[in-house]
């Protein structure tokens, strides 16, 4: 008889909470009558995310010293917990954002899949070997494929789904092949073991590492692996886009950091450069392409690519400070992007058509609350003071500078300068258009009151601005989290 290994349920608790939420929601879609289905499932999933956040907090508190569970298949450390908190909170906010999203009746499935995806990510960030890594990745990716394509009545949604599925499949195949090679080179799949395994510059190992970097860069949507991003972000339901832009990036980046630092320390000299290059390509590409966009979701997609560039900068520093910088950056970033997409979603529902810059005209005056929120997010992404975005950039830059990549800092500065043009352009449309342009907007007639979305926006703004004034606490936490990696 096989003795079943002891499972550390606390470490798994966030995942479990979300899974059960997802399961309940799924159940509810079947048993609960249609008129209250949406409410119930949403409530359940919201509760799930909140519990997950709380539990992750507890885990963070409990696991000061990182440990590896279940024969090195998952890690229980503060890095994972930190990321899980961000992910769970993001998920909760997204639930709020999607409350008034119009869709064919598959609400139950939507929420349950959202929870499932959340669970996948929450597990993913704690993956400690290549198998769990791959499986976790596929886990939330599959959920996202479905979510993206969920608005089956919109051709765009389906197209986005197909593209995401195919390109995503391609990417994960690459990742898988890479893992296979690494496995072949070392005979190990656990990160720590890979690091300690003998062959350092075995060609298999290197090729595998390259492919793994590629696969993860794909999920981070860093150039040149980003090309799916704009299409998918544009086509997907706005709430899903919000979730992807914030959560997927967070999960993927954290894992990126974990894999590279834990599993391939002896190849650091190569992958730091590689990551730095990828980062700079993303910065240049994302910002330049964003200049040409009219569709706001697309614009934000490109901006998210450039942000990926910034955060990869931090990873390429390969230092504790770099880790801190990345983790800090994630906080305001996810808040800002979720918030921004939330505003877009609201406008979308109000106008009933995709949101272009033109259709933002005058929003700032018609809906002061949304306007100011969007303003905050744009300035934050541009790295203006009074938002966490500024400190994020500062830390990333200083990390890169300490690592000696002053050229990277300069590229970052230039990219930021370019990015201003389109971020401010959004603000310009919000406030400074008048007369003819305004006719695109519905004259008067306030939109359906949407408290949930309002609350979500409020939360996002609070985090964005709060992370500016409360730098130190966040930074301390981030430092602890980063400390759980063997720098």
């Amino acid at each position: 008889m096989i003795e079943t290994p002891s499972v550390d349920w606390l470490a798994l608790s966030p995942t479990v909470a979300l899974l059960s939420a997802s399961g309940l929601a799924l159940l509810a879609t079947v048993v609960v009558p249609g008129w209250m289905r949406k409410a119930v499932t949403a409530a359940v999933v919201l509760a799930g995310f909140v519990t997950a956040a709380v539990l992750a907090g507890v885990v963070f508190d409990e696991s000061a010293t990182p440990e590896v569970l279940l024969s090195d298949s998952m890690a229980r450390d503060q890095l994972a917990a930190f990321a899980q908190v961000i992910l769970a909170v993001t998920g909760a906010v997204v639930v709020l954002v999607s409350w008034t999203e119009r869709r064919r009746d598959s609400y139950g499935e939507y929420y349950s899949l959202l929870a499932a995806a959340g669970a996948g990510m929450v597990f993913f960030v704690s993956a400690e070997n290549l198998m769990t890594l791959f499986l976790g990745l596929e886990w939330f990716s599959l959920c996202l494929y479905i979510l993206v394509a969920l608005d089956t009545e919109r051709a765009a949604s389906l197209e986005a789904g197909l593209k995401y599925l195919v390109v995503g499949g391609f990417g994960s195949a690459v990742l898988l092949f890479g893992s296979a090679l690494v496995y072949g080179a070392t005979g190990e799949i656990g990160f720590a073991e890979i690091a300690s395994a003998e062959p350092t510059d075995d060609p298999f190992l290197l090729a595998g590492l390259a492919m793994i970097v590629a696969g993860l860069a794909f999920k981070v949507s860093a150039a040149p692996f980003h090309m799916w991003t704009p299409d998918v972000y544009q086509g997907a339901p706005s709430s899903v886009t919000a979730f992807m832009s914030a959560a997927t990036k967070t999960a993927a980046l954290v894992v990126f950091l974990r894999v590279l630092v834990t599993a391939f320390p002896s190849e650091a000299d190569i992958w730091t450069i590689a990551v730095a290059v990828i980062a700079s390509i993303s910065l240049v590409w994302g910002n330049l392409a964003a200049l040409a966009q009219r569709d706001v979701k697309r614009l934000l997609a490109y901006s998210s690519i450039s942000h990926a560039g910034f955060m990869l900068m931090a990873i390429s520093a390969d230092s504790a400070r770099g880790g801190e910088a990345l983790l800090y950056y994630l906080v305001p970033y996810s808040a800002m992007s979720v918030g921004a997409f939330a505003v877009v979603a609201a406008r979308e529902r109000e106008l009933g058509r995709p949101v272009t810059l033109e259709s933002l005209a005058g929003l700032g005056w018609e809906r002061p609350y949304h306007g100011i929120a969007m303003w905050t997010f744009m300035l934050g992404m541009a790295g203006f003071p009074l938002t966490g975005g500024m400190f994020g950039k500062l830390f990333v830059f200083s990390a890169a500078y300490e690592a000696g990549d002053w050229w990277l800092v300069l590229i970052g500065v230039a990219a930021t300068a370019v990015s201003l043009a389109y971020y401010l352009n959004v603000v310009r449309w919000l406030y400074m258009r008048s007369g003819p342009e305004l006719r695109l907007a519905p004259a008067g007639g306030s939109p359906p009151r949407d408290l949930a979305l309002g609350a979500a926006l409020g939360a996002a703004v609070v985090v964005t601005v709060g992370s500016f004034f409360a730098v130190q606490p966040i930074l301390d936490v981030a430092a602890d989290a980063a400390a759980s990696l063997p720098f």
Partner: protein, 151 residues
């Protein structure tokens, strides 16, 4: 790979997979061989054929097409991938690929794999099940799209 009709393509794939199964067998992975045959030749392919049948002749799209540049680029890229792996192999050939480890007969037997799945790779196992569940849900949600003419 240049069959235009998905139906034949699918059948060809079955053949492909079957031969893979043989290879697995040679690699002393009996259980996997079985799984391969069942999962692929069975489930997956059946799904495929269903869909193909459902979609009927509408499905087949012509071979390649699109910008020629793209085509050449594709070929080059694929070739490059292949070549690289081969080169890597060549680099690594010398050292340890010759002498595979000696393994017991029970290597790759269902029992051992099952044991592993229930001990070391418990999580993997669970996740796999979750993934499958998700897939099922997804298939249903997407599959049951009502016909829509408008928009």
């Amino acid at each position: 790979m240049n069959v235009t009709n998905p139906f034949y393509a699918a059948l060809a794939l079955i053949g492909n997979l079957a031969s893979l199964a043989i290879l697995y067998l040679l690699l002393a992975a009996e259980f996997l061989t079985a799984a391969q045959v069942l999962v692929y030749a069975g489930a997956v392919m059946v799904m495929f054929l269903f869909v193909v049948a459902y979609l009927g002749g509408r499905a087949d799209a012509p071979w390649a097409g699109g910008p020629p540049l793209l085509r050449t680029a594709a070929v080059v890229a694929a070739a490059a991938l292949l070549v690289e792996v081969v080169v890597v192999l060549g680099l690594a050939w010398g050292d340890d690929l010759q002498d595979p480890a000696q393994v017991a007969d029970s290597f790759g037997s269902p029992a051992e794999i099952g044991a592993l799945f229930l001990t070391d790779h418990l999580l993997a196992f669970e996740i796999t099940s979750i993934v499958l569940l998700v897939a099922a849900v997804g298939g249903v949600v997407l599959g049951t799209t009502p016909e829509k003419e408008d928009d």
